[in-house]
Symmetry: C2
Subunit: 121 residues, 2 copies
Amino acid sequence: MDQTQALDAFGALSQETRLAMVRLLVRAGPGGLPAGTIAEEVGVSASGASFHLAHLERAGLVESRREARSIIYSASFTALSGLVAFLMRDCCQGHPEICAPATATAADAACCTPAREVDHV
Amino acid sequence: MDQTQALDAFGALSQETRLAMVRLLVRAGPGGLPAGTIAEEVGVSASGASFHLAHLERAGLVESRREARSIIYSASFTALSGLVAFLMRDCCQGHPEICAPATATAADAACCTPAREVDHV
DNA sequence: TCGTCAATTCAACGATTCTAGAAATATAGG
DNA sequence: CCTATATTTCTAGAATCGTTGAATTGACGA
């Protein structure tokens, strides 16, 4: 994730409807959800949902696939984790003590395995 | 960091000049930099810099203090780490395997101490 | 107090973004 | 082939954002 991609990602996440969509899709998991369900869930019109989902897809934060009559959108976990990494790199830059709270929070979320068990990417 | 604060933070970071300012201030460390230096460094007019710095301050990402004739801006490491935590929480939600790469990247940056040495915040 | 330097505020303008509804496209079933 | 469903595309208008230059405020030294 370079600065330009991060800029696009931040832009995409800086809008209430789109942030809600991403959070919804993260909760939904890799299976994703059809556009219509997303629209209903976040409370926007079909065309509005399409506009924002297209924006998110352009920014690389979600992916889409057609499935019969529906188009299924799912969160791009690769992009999200890349964005976290971008923020961490910048935030940590020479300030070890700073990032620790964030890492601790992640540990609190009881989902992130310790870094030492993970191969460097 | 709640959703509204995150929204403001993303909005603040979604603009080239402002992202550059934050990165500059992170590099500068807690000591910060005067507005004039920031303006020169990122290549914008004095009033433009003031506009964007005010925006960043409203979003809580930077802090300011007067020092003689200058106003010194510095990054809010608390806010930045809060933003990372927000993203981690959402990103990790039920997907342990996802956040690991981000954590690994942070470890690569050779700046984040292992979470177990840190008190939960 | 006056002049100067550092920074902010203000006003105007162009550009981008968001929203809403109508029309178009793609898929499936009868 | 016709109809219904799911979604996107198009168009237009309102709102927000970013930039610029001029005017203003605050702090300092002579």
